[in-house]
C-alpha cells in the first residue's frame, strides 16, 4: 500500500524536528578514532565506559578523581545544560560556548566541526598548540587563558574577552578536565583493547598508570615554572641589521623554514603535503588507502597550509614573544619544528638568532 503524500510529508517534518533530539542526557563519546568499532567487544566497551564514568562522572555531573587538582565548583559551572540563576550565575558554559565546535567529549568533532578550517582542537590527547612551555610540556593556565581571551585569529575560535573572569576560569578547568579524562581514556583503550587486559579492571592501576600521570603533567608546569616555561633572553632592537640577519637565518638550510613557508614567507614552500598529528593517521600511502581509512575517523582528512607571513595573520598571537615561542619550541601537534635549544642540546638557532628570525617574519607582515 502506498503511503499518502500528506502522511509522507508529515513524517518528513517530524523526522526533521526530531533530528538528533534524544531525551537521555548527553554522554561522552568513546574515543574510537582510527579503530574499527567491531574489533572491540561489548565487555571491553562497557569496562572502559564504566571505569571512565566511575572516575570522571558524566557531562551533566562531572566528578574529580582523588589526586586530581581541579576545582569542582568551577567544573560544575562549565558542565551540564545551559542555565543561569536569579543572580546571573551561569551554568553549562562549555555547552553554551564550546560544544558546537569542540564536541561534548572535547574531541574537536562538535556538530559544526566538519565545516571548519582548521578543525577545532581535540583535547583528548593533551596536545595544545599555543603554549609558553617547553616542548612536550602541557600549557599553563595562563596559556589557556590567553587563547580564550584572545581567540585564534583567522579561525572559528572566538575571543571570549567579554566573559567574566570566573567564567573563563571555569572553562579552563573544564578543558583540563576533558584533557585528563581523554588521556586516561586513551590509556584505558590501549590497556583493554590493544593489550587485552583481564577484566574487570583494577581501578587503582588505571589511576596510577594512566590518570595520575596525565593530571600531574598539568600540575608540573604550574609548580615548576622555572623548568617548564620558555625563558627568552631580552629582545634585541628590531632594526634593519636584525631583520637582515633574521632573513639569512630563515633562508639557512638548518632552520628548514623554506621547506614549508617558501623563500619569501608566502607559505609556498615545496612541502605541500603537511598534516597535523590529528590528521596524519588518516593519510594512507595511496589515495585508495586514504579513502578506506576515512571510515575509521569522524572528520575527513584535512591538509595544513603553511602560514603566509605576509598576510599578518598569526593564529598563536602576533606579538614578538608569541612568535618567539613558536620558533623556539615549534607548534605542538604540527610539523612546525622546534628551532631553539631543548633538553641540554643546542637547537638549530640560538635564542638571540630566534629573535632575529622573529623580526624578519614580523617585517614581512608589516611590509603589507
Amino acid at each position: 500500500m502506498r503511503c499518502p503524500l500528506v502522511a509522507r510529508a508529515f513524517f518528513i517534518i517530524l523526522a526533521t524536528f526530531a533530528t538528533g533530539c534524544a531525551k537521555a542526557p548527553p554522554s561522552f563519546r568513546l574515543n574510537l578514532e582510527g579503530r574499527n568499532p567491531e574489533e572491540i567487544s561489548l565487555a571491553q566497551y562497557e569496562a572502559i565506559d564504566l571505569t571512565l564514568t566511575k572516575l570522571f562522572g558524566t557531562p551533566d555531573e562531572p566528578t574529580i578523581p582523588a589526586g586530581v587538582d581541579l576545582d569542582l565548583e568551577w567544573l560544575q559551572a562549565a558542565a551540564g545544560p545551559i542555565a543561569s540563576d536569579a543572580d546571573g550565575r551561569q551554568r553549562g558554559l562549555f555547552r553554551q560556548h564550546c560544544v558546537a565546535c569542540h564536541g561534548i567529549s572535547g574531541d574537536g568533532a562538535g556538530p559544526s566541526a566538519a565545516m571548519l578550517t582548521p578543525y577545532p582542537r581535540d583535547f583528548r590527547n593533551g596536545v595544545f598548540k599555543w603554549t609558553s612551555t617547553v616542548a612536550g610540556a602541557k600549557p599553563t593556565r595562563d596559556d589557556l587563558d590567553r587563547t580564550l581571551r584572545r581567540g585564534v585569529p583567522g579561525t572559528a575560535m572566538p575571543s571570549f574577552m567579554r566573559l567574566p573572569d570566573e567564567e573563563i576560569e571555569s572553562l579552563i578547568e573544564y578543558v583540563q578536565y576533558l584533557s585528563i579524562r581523554g588521556e586516561t581514556e586513551l590509556h584505558l583503550i590501549r590497556l583493554v583493547v590493544d593489550e587485552d587486559e583481564y577484566l574487570p579492571l583494577d581501578i587503582d592501576w588505571v589511576m596510577d598508570d594512566g590518570l595520575l600521570p596525565a593530571a600531574e603533567s598539568w600540575q608540573r608546569v604550574e609548580q615548576d615554572p622555572g623548568r617548564y616555561l620558555i625563558q627568552p633572553p631580552p629582545e634585541p632592537p628590531a632594526d634593519a641589521a636584525s631583520i637582515e640577519l633574521g632573513h639569512r637565518l630563515y633562508a639557512s638550510k638548518d632552520a628548514q623554514c623554506l621547506k614549508c613557508h617558501g623563500p619569501d614567507g608566502r607559505g609556498d614552500g615545496e612541502e605541500t603535503e603537511i598534516y597535523d598529528d590529528w590528521n596524519k593517521p588518516k593519510k594512507g600511502v595511496t589515495p585508495e588507502q586514504t579513502k578506506d581509512l576515512a571510515f575509521l575517523y569522524t572528520l575527513p582528512i584535512q591538509k595544513l597550509l603553511a602560514r603566509d607571513f605576509r598576510e599578518g595573520i598569526f593564529r598563536g598571537g602576533s606579538s614578538p614573544i608569541d612568535l618567539y615561542r613558536r620558533v623556539d619550541v615549534g607548534i605542538p601537534g604540527t610539523p612546525m619544528p622546534a628551532a631553539g635549544p631543548a633538553g641540554g642540546t643546542a637547537g638549530v638557532l640560538t635564542p638571540t638568532d630566534i629573535w632575529h628570525v622573529v623580526h624578519y617574519i614580523r617585517s614581512l607582515a608589516n611590509d603589507q
Binding site: 526533521t16 524536528f17 526530531a18 533530528t19 538528533g20 533530539c21 534524544a22 531525551k23 548527553p26 554522554s27 563519546r29 545544560p81 545551559i82 542555565a83 543561569s84 540563576d85 536569579a86 543572580d87 546571573g88 551561569q90 553549562g92 555547552r95 553554551q96 560556548h97 560544544v99 558546537a100 564536541g103 561534548i104 568533532a109 562538535g110 556538530p111 559544526s112 566541526a113 566538519a114 565545516m115 571548519l116 578550517t117 584572545r150 581567540g151 585564534v152 585569529p153 583567522g154 579561525t155 572559528a156 575560535m157 572566538p158 575571543s159 571570549f160 574577552m161 567579554r162 566573559l163 569522524t298 572528520l299 597550509l305 603566509d308 598576510e311 599578518g312 595573520i313
Partner: protein
C-alpha cells in the same frame, strides 16, 4: 463585515507587538538565556506581572527571558481583545474564527515556550522557534483582512494573476522552509553528529539560492506585468529588498560566529579577523537574521494574500478572441 476600524488597529497592534517578541525570543536563544527563569508560568515563584523590577532589570539573562514573557503576555491580551471584537463585530464567519485562531495561536506558543522551560527541552525550543513566524504571519494576515482596503477592494482581471499567486505561494512556503532549516542550526543538540550540521547548512544555502531566484523573478515579473496594481508591485520590491538584506545578514551571521571561510581568506582576501563571542556584532547579526527572516515571510504572505484579493484570474480564452475559422 464592519466599517469599525478598531479590529484593524488591534490587528496592527498584534503584528507590531509580535515583531519585538520574535526579536526578544531570538536574543534569548542567542544569549542562551532560555533557562534563565526555571519556572513557568511564574517567574522565580512570582506572578509574571509582579516580579520585582530590580530583579528583572538587574540580571541580563533574566531581563531577556522575563521581557520575552511580558511581551508575550501583552501580545496575548491584544489577541484576546481582537478575538472578542472580531467575534462581536465582524460579519464574516471565517474571520471570526481567524480571531479565535490568533488567540489559540498565542496560547499555544506561550505553552510551548513554558513547556520548553519546564522540561528544558531542546526539541520544544526548536518547535517554539518555528511556530513563532507562523503566528506572526497570522497576525500580518489579520492586518490585511481587517483593512478598509481589503474590504473595499474590487478585483481586476489579470492574465498573470494565476502565475503570480502560485509564485507567491511557493515563495511563502520556501521562506518558511528556510526558517525551519535555520531553526535546526540554531537548536542543534550538543551530541548531534557532524552530518546534521552540514546537511542543514547546505540545505539552507540551496533553498536560499532558490528563493533568491524566485524573489528576483517575482520582482521583475511584478514590474512588467503589474503596472496596474502598484500595491502588489511595491510588495514584490519590498520582498526583494528584505531578502537581499536577509542574505547579507545570513553571511554576517556565519562570519561573526565562525569567522571568514578558509576559501575566502586563502584565495580571495586574507582578513585578519577574530570572532568575538557575544560581541554586539555577533548578537545583532544573528538575531536580526532571525527577525528579518520572519519579515520576509510576512512580505511573501502579504503578496500572496493581496494578489488573491486584487487580481482575478482569467482564462487564456478571456484575453484572446477565438481564431476565425478558415
Amino acid at each position: 463585515m464592519t466599517n469599525d476600524k478598531l479590529p484593524h488597529y488591534l490587528a496592527w497592534a498584534l503584528a507590531v507587538g509580535t515583531f519585538p517578541l520574535i526579536w526578544m525570543g531570538g536574543l534569548v536563544t542567542t544569549y542562551g538565556a532560555g533557562m534563565a527563569v526555571p519556572d513557568w508560568p511564574n517567574t522565580y515563584g512570582y506572578n509574571l506581572f509582579l516580579y520585582p523590577l530590580e530583579s528583572w532589570l538587574g540580571v541580563w539573562d533574566v531581563f531577556l527571558e522575563h521581557s520575552h514573557r511580558l511581551i508575550g503576555a501583552t501580545v496575548g491580551m491584544i489577541a484576546i481583545a481582537l478575538a472578542v471584537f472580531l467575534w462581536r463585530k465582524d460579519s464574516r464567519r471565517w474571520m471570526r474564527w481567524m480571531g479565535v485562531m490568533a488567540l489559540a495561536g498565542v496560547c499555544l506558543q506561550g505553552t510551548l515556550g513554558g513547556l520548553r522551560v519546564i522540561g528544558d527541552d531542546l526539541l520544544l525550543a526548536k518547535i517554539h522557534g518555528c511556530t513563532a513566524p507562523v503566528f506572526f504571519g497570522l497576525a500580518a494576515a489579520l492586518v490585511a483582512w481587517t483593512s478598509p482596503a481589503w474590504l473595499q477592494a474590487s478585483p481586476r482581471p489579470n492574465a498573470a494573476a494565476r502565475r503570480l499567486l502560485w509564485l507567491a505561494i511557493g515563495l511563502t512556503l520556501g521562506i518558511y522552509l528556510q526558517i525551519v532549516l535555520g531553526a535546526q542550526l540554531r537548536h542543534l543538540p550538543p551530541e548531534a553528529d557532524v552530518f546534521w550540521f552540514q546537511l542543514w547548512v547546505w540545505l539552507h544555502l540551496i533553498v536560499a539560492g532558490l528563493v533568491l531566484i524566485a524573489v528576483t523573478w517575482m520582482s521583475v515579473f511584478a514590474r512588467r506585468r503589474l503596472r496596474e496594481s502598484p500595491q502588489l508591485a511595491r510588495r514584490a520590491q519590498l520582498l526583494l529588498v528584505l531578502f537581499l538584506l536577509q542574505l547579507f545578514l545570513g553571511a554576517a551571521t556565519w562570519v561573526t560566529n565562525f569567522g571568514w571561510p578558509a576559501w575566502f581568506t586563502t584565495y580571495l582576501w586574507p582578513i585578519d579577523y577574530t570572532v568575538i563571542a557575544e560581541s554586539r556584532l555577533q548578537v545583532l547579526s544573528t538575531t536580526a537574521h532571525v527577525a528579518v527572516g520572519s519579515l520576509c515571510l510576512i512580505a511573501a504572505l502579504s503578496l500572496m494574500l493581496w494578489s488573491k484579493r486584487l487580481l482575478l484570474t482569467t482564462k487564456p480564452s478571456d484575453n484572446h478572441p477565438p481564431r476565425p475559422r478558415t
